[in-house]
Subunit: 196 residues, 2 copies
Amino acid sequence: MTTAKRDTYTPESLLAVAVQVFNERGYDGTSMEHLSKAAGISKSSIYHHVAGKEELLRRAVSRALDGLFAILDEEQAREGRAVDRLEHVTRRMVGVLTSELPYVTLLLRVRGNTETERWAMDRRRDFDHRVADLLKAAIAEGDLREDVEARLATRLLFGMINSLVEWFRPDARGADGAEIADAVVQLAFRGLRIED
Amino acid sequence: MTTAKRDTYTPESLLAVAVQVFNERGYDGTSMEHLSKAAGISKSSIYHHVAGKEELLRRAVSRALDGLFAILDEEQAREGRAVDRLEHVTRRMVGVLTSELPYVTLLLRVRGNTETERWAMDRRRDFDHRVADLLKAAIAEGDLREDVEARLATRLLFGMINSLVEWFRPDARGADGAEIADAVVQLAFRGLRIED
DNA sequence: CCTTGTCCCGACCGATCGTTCGGTTACTCT
DNA sequence: AGAGTAACCGAACGATCGGTCGGGACAAGG
């Protein structure tokens, strides 16, 4: 039996409101006053649910990072040819970006001003390196062209995927991002130009 | 005869310092105190050169936008097949991103909290649409695949190019970004995968 | 009824925000 | 030398920052 319906805030439901405001105004541009207006409760009441502004940030980026790292544990990311594993990770990244959009958006925008932000940037860099290794392996296995440097290609691939947070908005009709994942894979692996 | 060497600040030289700090800490995360420390002059002295914090932002994003819009006026962006014009704009965007890196970085990160930021976002959107029209024309002329929607492809292309501000750092040996432009064009137009 | 704990509030804290002001230094021009 | 001005400074402004405090409203359990 899950908790019955309550019209009060939980740390999680408050987080959802906070993350939305963070993304609209930027984390540094958001005051606790802004959050209280958006949540409909007073500024001091927020501190009944969470320890402060930075805990909201930490919860948000943790959620995003957990979603991303979980991809690497999936079977299709661990077994098979590197190029196929890379394509799977690419598709699943688009999936996580769309399903956890506000949290990932916040993660991709932290600047490293606080210890929490630097920790998030470090974990994110770890994830990036893991995917970069996958791309290098795909080149070594002869499935990807080697005239584009692996690190550069990884950065451009991430640039393409991560740009979703700048323009993707969830759709009423259930666009779960599968068609976007197709487009990303098409563009990244086969290119825009028609070869003939 | 240009102005003789001066060890005092001009609005332009102060802007260069300010933009660097803005990019390190984020615009909202940067206080005038931070700027005064970085510039080596007192907080109040900054106001002798510029009207305030927001003018620094306006000057910076204006410079970035002027650089981008100038691309569209170039002959190679106005004449020839759409696909070739698009490739030229792509290469030149990489060039402007690298040569005006800190200014474009700031432009790509504004959130719309002030009138200046919203104006910058509007102008940037105009530019994006101009490039999107180019891509649509290239599809209409039969040079680009039509199984990826034009607007989506434009967004992914921009995502790839704009990601430069997240990782590109100017090199001592004059890497002017030409090799990066090659990589972007290779990836975007021909893809990563080896076709055979 | 009274206690207990959850949820919330207005008032307030010291610190910091962007900005202003009056005044001083130092260079340029005559 | 004296006047004018560009460049700069310390001190302070009102506003807002993130966060604290004591207490009120209210439902549950006895």
